[in-house]
């Protein structure tokens, strides 16, 4: 299988505090990889380095190599805007724009130059369907996205990401702020788009990782402890730390 993203000896520091101490991980096409580990172990830091969202935080240094489709994403010739179109992101807190549902989902498309109304309508509908929110919003596409519940907002955000058809979708604990029903719907979405996107998901919820991911990476204190097929890792972890964490002994 092709590697979509490869990371080699990635170290990330905030000021002089090193949060990640050399991570080697590869992500394969159309697989779901879960990143697990206790709070503060560096999952978000790592995830946000993959589409350079860390650039927004001053005094962050990234060393090592992160390649997307074999291009170094931290090289000077990389167009960050273009990179982020291909590597989309869903956040922990739903963050729809204060616009209508339709405008939220169409926003990215319009900016990349899609003007044909029919085409926009079509993509908006497909994306909302993929995100398992269509039935709930189809009669109120002109309503402000902020007037929906948190779980619905998150799925609208999911549709917004899907609409621009990225290759990779990064998710940082996308369901931890949601009710169980909405979480289940997000998971449902993940399963259904599974074969079209490469997905990397940070999750606090071990059951969720077990249910949805093909591979799991366990991080601890800025180090990668173990990376394996999810099934293998959950049934038979190689490291003691992994087993302790999976059994709820800490974290």
């Amino acid at each position: 299988m092709t590697n979509v993203i490869t990371t080699d000896n990635v170290r990330i520091s905030y000021g002089d505090h090193e949060a990640l101490h050399g991570i080697n991980l590869n992500f394969q096409e159309n697989q779901i990889t879960a990143l697990i580990g206790p709070s503060g172990c560096g999952k978000s830091t790592y995830l946000r380095s993959l589409n350079r969202m860390n650039d927004l935080i001053p005094n962050t240094t990234v060393t090592g190599e992160i390649r997307f489709r074999n291009n170094d994403i931290y090289s000077n010739s990389t167009d960050v805007v273009d990179l982020r179109k291909k590597i989309g992101m869903l956040f922990q807190q739903p963050n729809p724009f204060p616009l209508s549902v339709y405008e939220n989902v169409a926003y990215g498309l319009k900016l990349s130059g899609v003007v044909n109304k029919r085409m926009l309508d079509e993509r908006v509908e497909i994306s909302l369907k993929q995100a398992a929110i269509w039935d709930e919003v189809k009669d109120s596409l002109n309503k402000n996205a902020l007037s929906f519940s948190g779980g619905q907002q998150q799925r609208i955000c999911m549709a917004r990401v899907l609409a621009v058809q990225p290759e990779v979708i990064l998710m940082d604990e996308p369901t931890s702020a949601l009710d169980p029903i909405s979480s289940a719907k997000i998971e449902e979405t993940l399963m259904s788009i599974h074969d079209q996107f490469t997905i990397i998901i940070v999750t606090h919820n071990m059951q969720q990782a077990a249910r949805i991911s093909d591979k799991t990476a366990f991080l601890l204190n800025g180090d990668l402890v173990e990376f394996d097929q999810t099934e293998k890792m959950f049934i038979n972890p190689k490291m003691d730390a992994t087993s302790d964490y999976l059994n709820g002994k800490f974290g």
Binding site: N51, P58, D82, R84, N95, L111, N142, S147, R160, V164
Partner: protein
Amino acid sequence: MNPKRTNQIATGLIYVLVAIVVLILAGLLGYILVNGVPNISWHFLTSGAEAFSAGGGIRDQLFNSLYLLVLTLIISLPIALGAGIYLSEYAADNWVTNVIRTMIEVLSSLPSVVVGLFGYLLFVIKFGFGFSILAGAIALTFFNLPLLTRNIEESLHNVSNLQREAGLSLGLSNWKTISGIVLPAALPGIITGVILCSGRVFGEAAALIYTAGQSAPTVNYLNFNPLSATSFLNPMRPAETLAVHIWKLNTEGITPDAHLISSGASAVLIIVILMFNLGARAFGNLVYLKMTAVK
């Protein structure tokens, strides 16, 4: 003393202090309105001032105040917007930014008389503008800019970072994220700020006495050529504003009814400013609803 008692005393004291503030304000407003409103009439608002005889109005001064306000906003709003966006979205947290902020702070605490005299020396005399609306508008820009910039910066700053992340992660450029998402989200706050600043500008006198001047030459309200000396739109003509007019009537007014006109003009001034202040909130909310809500 037990805590309950202390609490009662503290609460009581706070109420008394608030009551004092409200009383002072209500007393002032009441005095001005009670004395002034009876002098306001359609004739008063629509006729020109008289220098020596009774029965003059404030038409020209009222128009000058509004025109000056518009010109001031045309000059200061783009600058403040640029500066506010820069400070909130681009400026790194370093000494350069700190110097800029400190200078804005200093500028905002300059007494308006000083701003006026500076404008007089530089624009009226040195650049040869003479007493003119333009010189007044520039002086008011100095006066207005710090507050406006800070207000815009703050409004932008209040937009959640989640919105910026949403835009950037969607592959919008930095500028697109700012102009397409952050700025619209901040617009209600910005509009409120602009209107509040307008109220301040509208009532300003000291900065204008030596810049826009103290005379209101007769102008032709049908002459729309801003280059013509008699046009009401000519930015190079001297223009006494309402606030300056009030000041002048009270210091050297020689019309027999100076007192009546001044109290009427004060009431008009206060009413307009109150309208700005009350309108600001309503309008800001309206814009927000328009932009975000159910269509």
